[in-house]
């Protein structure tokens, strides 16, 4: 149903835009102005009224995908175990890790006594683009062992239905690899039921 409402709204917008362009062209003819120039200007103005942020959002989204997004492995679970002999065996983990929030961290999970999995979200001003950063951090040394940055364009919380043309992504690099390493750092030692 919401899709049909969106189609109705689009149809109405298209009809109004066509009317505005037609009126502008008629005015240009009567006043001996360039019909093409005024018609295109009116059409472009009507386009910008609703879609002014479409092209900038698309360009910036592509730029962030190319320059900011990525998946980094600084240390694998095996390398960490080799550097910290005997420690992994002393750790305990739960199937559903405890969740927490703290300043600067939107969402975090305590994986075990040494590792946390943290999420941070940053938004671009004016344009609806968000960068999501998640990392697994060794809490004793404050060292990041794996990290991923994802990019998404578009509104959220229901507003996306009124600006669906802005929706791009999510661009999430290393989906399988990140999950594999995350499980590796989570499941050190003994499971606590």
């Amino acid at each position: 149903m919401i899709g049909l409402m969106m189609l109705l709204a689009l149809g109405l917008y298209l009809a109004i835009s066509t009317g505005v362009v037609a009126l502008t062209v008629r005015w240009a003819k009567r006043n001996s102005r360039s019909v093409w120039r005024w018609g295109i200007a009116a059409g472009f103005l009507m386009y910008l009224l609703a879609f002014w942020d479409h092209i900038p959002t698309l360009i910036l989204y592509k730029h962030y995908c190319a320059t900011k997004a990525g998946f980094w492995v600084y240390k694998t679970p095996e390398q960490w175990k080799a550097e910290n002999p005997g420690v992994a065996e002393t750790l305990t983990w739960e199937r559903i890790p405890q969740q927490f929030t703290s300043p600067g961290i939107d969402r975090g999970y305590k994986l075990n006594e040494r590792f946390v999995w943290i999420h941070q979200v940053s938004a671009v001003p004016i344009l609806p683009i968000r960068l999501g950063s998640e990392a697994v951090v060794d809490t004793k040394t404050n060292e990041t062992v794996i990290k991923r940055v994802s990019v998404r364009a578009g509104c959220s919380g229901g507003k996306e239905y009124f600006s669906f043309w802005l929706s791009q992504g999510p661009y999430t690099p290393g989906v399988r690899e990140f999950a594999q390493y995350l499980d590796g750092f989570h499941q050190f030692g003994r499971e606590v039921k």
């Binding site: 919401i2 559903i96 999970y109 959220s156």
Partner: protein, 179 residues
């Protein structure tokens, strides 16, 4: 269960069906819990409390990501009662070509029903009800473009129904019927 409780569950499951579960490597509680809250990567819109309550009660059994027609559904299982709920997505703003133009405009407005998504739902249901490693009968929708096909469709249509420009056939059987 009270009506309010049932409506709450149905609304929650409908919301959860929009989560991009296909990007999860498995449906463990940890990953589902995070995906439900992770809007950037998984389209999740749950709060921490909502997600924790959901994971305590429901598990993801099967997920069909968006097909070409924009159909997507998830089968959930209640961990306490064993009840199954099959939740299908509605229109997704992030999938405008398939959902809004192909299905809403091309199918619902023009044909009167979302026939592409109905076929995909049938196939998903067949897949869910088939044991791993076994084959199942899937339906395929073909557009009848030549005059012979359309004439055949008009003649073989069931009395009282309307012949359309589509032929719906069950793959591998060859006993197609006209809708």
């Amino acid at each position: 269960m009270s009506d309010v409780g049932e409506f709450f569950d149905i609304a929650t499951l409908a919301e959860a069906s929009y989560v991009l579960f296909d990007k999860l490597t498995d449906f463990t509680d940890k990953k589902v819990l995070d995906a439900l809250q992770n809007n950037i990567d998984f389209n999740g819109n749950f709060s921490a409390t909502q997600a924790a309550n959901f994971v305590a009660e429901w598990e993801v059994v099967s997920h069909q990501p968006n097909t070409d027609s924009g159909f997507s559904a998830t089968l959930f299982k209640n961990k306490i009662t064993g009840e199954y709920v099959y939740a299908a997505r509605g229109t997704e703003p992030g999938n405008p070509m398939a959902d809004i133009f192909y299905t809403d405009l091309g199918d619902i407005v023009v044909d009167g029903l979302a026939i592409g998504q109905i076929v995909d739902m049938y196939n998903d249901w067949q897949r869910i009800n088939t044991s791993e490693g076994q084959s199942y009968q899937a339906a395929r929708l073909d557009l009848l473009e030549d005059a012979t096909g359309l004439l055949f469709a008009e003649r073989s249509v069931v009395p009282g129904s309307v012949a359309g420009p589509y032929e719906l056939s069950l793959e591998g059987k060859g006993d197609g019927f006209i809708c």
